[in-house]
């Protein structure tokens, strides 16, 4: 299944400046693994040493924050938009 992934500015060094890239996978975990195949090193910036999503990274599948869904096991249906966003924003 092919999805579109939005890349935040600070990770675009891995995607040669591209703000949006395609990836394959039925779950978020598979999508991130596929991203790693094409953009070596990017996964370690998104996931910590424990394999979990870093605490200052938010990932959305469609409009859903994956922390409200099934985390890395969240399904990624064909054509869905995945967004990776720095969490340190907003409020005060």
């Amino acid at each position: 299944m092919s999805v579109s992934v939005r890349i935040p500015t600070i990770l675009r060094t891995y995607t040669k400046g591209q703000a949006e890239v395609s990836a394959e996978g039925a779950t978020l975990k598979e999508v991130l693994a596929d991203l790693e195949t094409n953009y070596s090193g990017i996964q370690a910036r998104i996931l910590g040493d424990d394999g979990a999503i870093r605490r200052f990274v938010n990932i959305y599948v469609g409009d859903e924050d994956v922390r409200f869904a099934s985390g890395l096991d969240t399904p990624t249906p064909d054509g869905v938009q995945v967004s990776i966003i720095p969490a340190v924003a907003g409020g005060c």
């Binding site: 890349i7 600070i10 605490r55 200052f56 938010n58 924003a89 907003g90 409020g91 005060c92």
Partner: protein, 422 residues
């Protein structure tokens, strides 16, 4: 070694006073001062680091009667008071003896930040962001806001000559919408929660449409957030250069609470106040209490929630600084507590009735948590205590909508006497 943030931004150290670098709070990586907010290594939040020179009580006391008296401790140019800015701060620290008596406290003060130019503490943080935006050459100021910030940005942009375009969740209180719109900038309501608005802004900043914008609480956030330190400086100075024993602070993103702690720590390190223990308490509404829930469970991370509370200015379900709030409250021996919407309304009335201070819902949250923690024996009734009111009740009139005239009578003495009010 300091890394260069982006090739387009040159080092602007001189324009930021004693600020020397940005430092990642998570991994310690250092960056040149620039319009960046998250660590390239780990996405952690960036903090302003300083090389403070000599700062004395006297040099501060001779400064202007606003936050710029603390300019030596802030990321702003040395001549900041000459630039067009809202010049907020030095709001009253009200000795709240009647409220203290009602709650059984020995010594209580209310830091009343509704006295700022746009009637909330947000003027403090926006004042920092305006100066950073000037240095970085942004011409548009923007933000994601629960209401108070939108007004503060609109006003500051008008004063300083920036274009503004701010984003709020649809369905905010009417007074906050009007107050954000009246300054002539663009005000965009987004169908969703504050967290949806925040996500939108984070994506806009990575898009060509928004890349030249100064988002006060996104790409200017490290500078902006420093403005909350001035609450700590003022409280200490107004107490006679003393840090209070206990302080109750509202939590939205949690940044304000962590910056007040940073402010106290800086005053201690500079020898401006005695190095003594203090306890920091965080306050949330039950309908949006992700940090209080994490506290109850002993977690070090915060599980996001979907907000549902009348305290809309605190309705951030995914608080960026939540983990650091937990750290600060643990380190200082404080706590994080929450109160229901009913307790918030009752506490707004309590503060108004005892001290003549009409707080917005966030002030009801802090006053309610003050009362609850005293009743639970968590707060020490003998210790000097400060509670924050961060906004004006006129902006959240609906919260006390049942309040009105006591009687409507004919214009005659007999009618007044007959009304049974004497």
């Amino acid at each position: 070694m300091a890394l260069t943030a982006t090739e387009s931004v040159t080092s602007a150290t001189g324009s930021f006073g004693s600020a020397s670098a940005l430092s990642c709070r998570e991994c310690g990586a250092r960056y040149d001062l620039g319009p960046i907010f998250a660590c390239i290594e780990c996405f952690g939040p960036l903090e302003v680091a300083y090389d403070f020179g000599t700062v004395t009580r006297e040099s501060i006391e001779q400064g202007p009667k606003n936050i710029w008296r603390y300019k030596a401790l802030l990321p702003v140019p040395v001549d900041v008071e000459k630039l067009p800015n809202m010049n907020p701060g030095l709001t009253p620290l009200v000795k709240a003896d009647r409220l203290a008596a009602e709650l059984g406290l020995r010594s209580l003060y209310v830091k009343d930040d509704s006295a700022n130019p746009t009637h909330s503490f947000k003027d403090r943080v926006v004042a920092m962001a305006v100066e950073a935006a000037r240095v970085f050459g942004f011409t548009t100021l923007s933000c994601s806001s629960t209401g108070n910030l939108a007004g503060a940005v609109g006003a500051a942009a008008a004063r300083a000559g920036f274009r503004s375009c701010v984003f709020i969740p649809a369905g905010l209180e009417e007074a906050k919408v009007v107050m954000a719109a009246v300054y002539g900038g663009q005000l965009v309501a987004i169908e969703g929660t504050y967290d949806d608005v925040n996500r939108f802004c984070s994506e806009l900043i990575g898009d060509p449409a928004g890349e030249d914008w100064g988002f006060v609480n996104v790409n200017l956030r490290p500078y902006y957030a420093e403005g909350s330190k001035t609450l700590a400086y003022e409280i200490a100075e107004q107490l006679g250069w003393r840090v209070p024993d206990q302080i109750v602070i509202p939590i939205a993103s949690g940044s304000q609470l962590t910056k007040i702690d940073k402010g106290f720590q800086e005053l201690i390190a500079l020898g401006l106040v005695e190095d003594k223990p203090y306890r920091i308490f965080g306050a949330q509404a039950t309908g949006c209490a992700p940090v209080a829930r994490a506290w109850e469970k002993g977690y070090t991370v915060v599980q996001p929630v979907k907000p549902d509370t009348i305290a809309k200015s605190l309705a951030i379900g995914n608080p960026a600084d939540g983990p650091y709030v937990l750290d600060v409250c643990r380190r200082t021996g404080g706590a994080v507590e929450h109160v229901s919407d009913e307790e918030i309304v009752d506490s707004i009335r309590l503060l108004a009735r005892t001290e003549g201070i009409f707080a917005e819902t966030a002030g009801g949250v802090t006053t309610g948590v003050l009362r609850k923690l005293l009743a639970k024996g968590v707060l020490d009734p003998e210790a000097e205590t400060v509670v924050l009111n961060t906004g004006d009740g006129l902006k959240t009139l609906n919260a006390v909508s049942g309040t009105g005239v006591t009687a409507t009578i004919k214009p005659s003495l007999s009618a007044f006497k007959d009304a049974g009010l004497l």
